[in-house]
Amino acid sequence: MKEEACRVITNTIIQGRYYLMKLESSHISENSKPGNFVMVAVSGSNDPLLKRPFGIFKTDPPYFYIYYEVVGKGSELLASKMTGDLVMVVGPLGNTFPEYENENILLVGGGRGIAPLYFAIEQYSGSNNLSLIYGARSKDDLLFTEEIGKFALKEKAFYTDDGSGFTKGQVTTDIKEIIERNGINITFSCGPDKMFESLNSEIGSLGISNFVSMEAFMGCGFGICYSCVVKGSDGKYKKVCSDGPVFRMEEIKWQI
């Protein structure tokens, strides 16, 4: 884990509000695994003050990529970065999805939550049998379907809330069938809290191992400010940045 000025290699619109940024850092690109994230300074001034957290989308040493949605002023400033600009980055941060071999793993991505899962596909599809469920608001929010197509996946299912482009539905719509059909004993998921809650009620008690990669408001990203907490099922707060962002589903206290 280091703090360094990384050069922006490219920063391009993938679609609509979604960007892919390629940055240079030997340290981060060589030491990151699926689930890890970075804290990125979006400006050189005191406003906005905080760095923003983004999952690592993939690596190609000495380069790494982040995939982000423009949702507020921080991500907007990030979108304005140009090739050659330097941005301060702290990383790689957080824990990672566990590493398995020869397992039947289901990846479940909601919206921009695809970032760490794409990385997982790239890293683990050779050594495991992966399946994927990927849902988003509309087809304009469901990205990288083509790139994902290049990997050998046992099954992949795409959903949109409004039915545009893909099957209308949520990631949970056919999940039980997909789990059964593919002999899934492990899931990796990333998406909004609401998705985790539905997942928890659908598959939380199937007896399989479910890992979730969570988001939270972050100050530091490396465990010292105690601001990014979520309530654990034991009633104690856990820090998303350093106890996570990847948790076993049963460690977290879900609303529903």
Binding site: F217, I224, Y226, S227
Partner: protein, 303 residues
């Protein structure tokens, strides 16, 4: 090359830069970024007697050039902290300061006693400013007489040098500082966070469950610098300046205002190697301005 030593009287620090309580974890978390020996000293996250979970999230909120926090002093409790202190002390010779919290005078004393006996602890910092209390709640730094009482209690029952950390949210900070001095405080650190409010218009709710929260960061620097100057004018014990320090220039401004050393807060959160950068910048700026040592400019305003 300029001499960065900061002499607090009861201890001489190799430089004036001390990461502040709550913004530096327990120190060890920063070992992955730099050698803790580079620092003047560092202050651990505030500790109560018992283990505490802290406040319901959200716990922080970004404001223009500032940060509101309502962490609620999550922590392992005084006994739990002992092991953590031993662990980090084994990795650095930099003086360790513990930030002593309490719900009442007895708890302050309890916490202080547990930590006072540890040789790994160089100083105690008494956190009598409680920014995360809902309006109406009170805390010792609110009144000179309460301050005097708790400081005296600690001085009578502990041996380590005692720094008293003051809140800016009181009528008259200098008079609280004088009360602490009279009761035997060895140094004053000031300021803790300023009380502020954030509202969520969409849900028509306060952002924080505790309603108010504490504002820190560069936004407060001009306000903090004013208070540090006032306190340094009011007392004869060393003052440790705190509030929005982000650069070496900021450090020298606080020294010029009368501080003997300074604490860096929010900068550690947003830039893990920030305190080291600040030490280097201070040295460079002193060389540039031909300042040989900090005492040369401390409190030395040409008014």
């Amino acid at each position: 090359m300029a001499d960065l030593t900061a002499d607090l009287g009861f201890i001489k620090l190799k430089n004036p830069v001390i990461p502040a309580s709550g913004t530096f974890g327990y120190g060890g978390e920063f070992l992955q970024f730099f050698d803790l020996d580079l620092l003047g000293a560092f202050v651990m996250k505030g500790v109560y007697s018992e283990e505490r979970g802290g406040n319901e999230p959200p716990r922080i909120w970004e404001t223009p050039s500032g940060l509101l926090n309502s962490i609620g002093l999550a922590g392992p409790g005084a006994e739990g902290l002992r092991g953590i202190i031993k662990e980090v002390a084994s990795k650095t010779s930099t003086p360790i300061i513990v930030n002593v919290c309490g719900g009442n005078d007895e708890e302050y004393l309890e916490v202080a006693r547990v930590l006072d006996v540890m040789e790994e602890v160089a100083m105690l910092e008494l956190n009598i400013s409680c920014p995360n209390v809902r309006s109406g709640g009170s805390c010792p730094a609110q009144s000179p007489s309460d301050t005097k009482k708790v400081v005296r209690l600690l001085k009578e029952n502990t041996k380590k040098p005692l720094i008293v950390k003051l809140s800016p949210n009181v009528s008259d900070v200098p008079s609280v500082a004088r009360a602490a001095e009279e009761a035997g405080a060895d140094a004053i650190s000031v300021v803790n966070t300023f009380l502020g409010l954030a509202l969520d218009v969409k849900n028509r709710k306060p952002v924080f469950k505790n309603f108010f929260a504490g504002l820190s960061g560069p936004a407060i620097k001009p306000l903090a610098l004013k208070i540090v100057w006032e306190v340094a004018e009011a007392v004869n014990i060393p003052v440790i300046g705190i509030g929005g320090i982000m650069t070496g220039r900021d450090v020298l401004e606080f020294i010029l205002a009368g501080a003997t050393a300074i604490q860096t807060g929010t900068v550690n959160i947003i830039e893990p190697t920030g305190s080291v950068r600040i030490i280097n910048e201070t040295l460079e700026l002193m060389d540039e301005l031909k300042i040989d040592n900090l005492e040369e400019i401390r409190g030395g305003l040409n008014i």
